[in-house]
């Protein structure tokens, strides 16, 4: 992987004390390649390389490390710091119900993640309510109902309704009467460039007043991750991101791209299809995964 490539780059460097600009430039070529292969956004890679260059040039190589290892350490630390600093939890409101809204592109894993969040909150002695606000996708409501059964959480629907805004509003209005203290709204997948559907999300936000709006993103997303996250963030304001399907071998560069460009914290990692497969996001593990 990158470690071996950098060892090669720095072979001729053994015994020298400081990293010169040309040493660092050689190394940065390898790092740039690794990041692009990992699907980190082109512009984010450029900015990141410049930051790391500044930190690396003139640095005294630690006795315990080779120059290659030293550069990796700088890159790894920088990546981890960039993606870190987040609490992997749903912020529970002092005035229940806490309302969580899941949004994102088609197929990202929202419905499955809604079930996982519900299961997690149950374990934390909360009383979650799942809300089936996807009236478009065939059998979407049935899917969430089956999910609710599997995790032991009730599912709110308005049978026959074609109005996601009304469904979300009624669920949040009636939650306390139903003795539920966290509302999880599952919305239909949509394109960030579909104005009508993005306006619908704004309408749901206005009516349901979510405390947390979380963007669900597939870990295998490529360069498009930045465009998508920026659009959702500009339109709605995001409180966090959940990265799904991290149980595969996608390097997950989208994580860095999204955090770097929007500042949105990555709160959770989806690690499988079962409903217990939701973990806190670990920036250090993500950093080494991205570097390969």
């Amino acid at each position: 992987g990158l470690a071996d490539k950098l060892q090669q780059t720095f072979k001729k460097l053994r015994g020298r004390g400081k990293l010169t600009e040309s040493d660092v430039n050689d190394a940065m070529r390898e790092v740039r390649m690794a990041l692009l292969e990992a699907d980190v956004n082109f512009k984010v890679v450029k900015d990141f390389i410049n930051r790391v260059k500044e930190r690396a040039v003139g640095q005294e190589v630690l006795d315990s490390l080779t120059p290659g290892q030293h550069v990796i350490k700088i890159v790894n630390d920088e990546l981890t710091a960039l993606m870190g600093g987040t609490q992997s939890r749903i912020m529970i409101s002092s005035k229940p119900p806490t309302v969580v809204m899941l949004v994102g592109l088609q197929g990202a894993g929202k419905t499955t993640t809604a079930g996982k969040l519900a299961g997690l909150l149950l374990k934390q002695n909360k009383r979650p309510l799942l809300v089936a606000a996807d009236v478009y996708r065939p059998a979407a409501i049935k899917q969430l109902q089956v999910v609710g059964e599997k995790v032991g959480v009730p599912v709110f629907t308005i049978p026959g309704s074609q109005d996601p805004v009304l469904i979300a509003k009624q669920a949040t209005d009636q939650a306390l009467a139903m003795a539920r203290d966290v509302v999880i709204i599952d919305t239909a997948g949509r394109l960030h460039i579909n104005d009508e559907l993005m306006d619908e999300l704004v309408a749901i936000k206005i009516q349901a007043k979510p405390h947390e709006i979380l963007l669900v993103v597939d870990a295998m997303t490529g360069q498009d991750a930045v465009t998508v996250a920026e659009s959702f963030n500009t339109k709605l304001g995001l409180d966090g991101v959940i990265l799904t399907k991290l149980d595969g071998d996608a390097r997950g560069g989208a994580a860095l791209s999204i955090k770097a460009v929007t500042g949105c914290p990555i709160k959770f990692a989806g690690m499988g299809e079962k409903f217990d497969a939701l973990e806190p996001f670990h920036p250090d593990r993500m950093a080494s995964r991205i570097l390969g």
Binding site: Q143, M220, G248
Partner: protein, 277 residues
Amino acid sequence: VSFSTKIDEEFLEELEAVLIYADVGLRTTEKIMNNVRQGVKDKKINSPADIKPFLKSEISSLLGRDLIRTKISGLPTVILVVGVNGVGKTTTIGKLGQYYQRFGYKIMFAAADTFRAAAGEQLEIWAQRVNADIIRHEEGSDPAAVAYDALQAAKSRNTDILIIDTAGRLHTKSNLMEELKKIYRIISREISEAPHETLLVLDATTGQNAMNQAQLFSQAANVSGVVLTKLDGTAKGGVIVAIKSELEIPVKWIGIGEKADDLRPFQPNEFVEALFD
């Protein structure tokens, strides 16, 4: 790229950025850029206006080579649909049903995703929409058994086209890939030449991981073509250039929306044109 007046280093960097942003990938982008630089040396490319036609002809001829559409022949023609989770397999099958029923073909769907919540119900709704037969078992049953049942039913009911939906699975999960191999074996054992088409569904928003998906699914189920979905978004799906040039797997269909009509046969020229939009 279209505003430049001369081919200088800055222009070439912009071109490289366009390709990377389209998810063409580093290795394939470097190959393309080398060809461009050679084209400039050989005076085949003399101004920025020459670049797009040059690339269009290069890339679309690569993508179009040996592109054979599905032949609807024996009874039934069997199409197996595979891919990772959430890419659009079930929806694509509905769209294929819509496409083929216009020609008067008798269509059957097999709901061989017996794992995911409401997977059978989802395909059932599509079957109703496009007047297709459907074979379903209960949740948790053996997907290979569903495939087997559907093959027998399709033969006995003079079905023209049987399309088999499978559960989304990550290519890294060896037990799930073994399950896929078993489904494939059952199909090929029951009808000679089947499956006549194995379509790998890829999401256009996917980055370089699409290459890993294509490699491993191809090993398990002899993939004969790709359906590239969600091209109605902003992602370009550039990964399919490497998939064609390195694995020889062609794109046969593109998905451009969520409705029954949102499926088109893949047109290499249009695809390359869209890369530069």
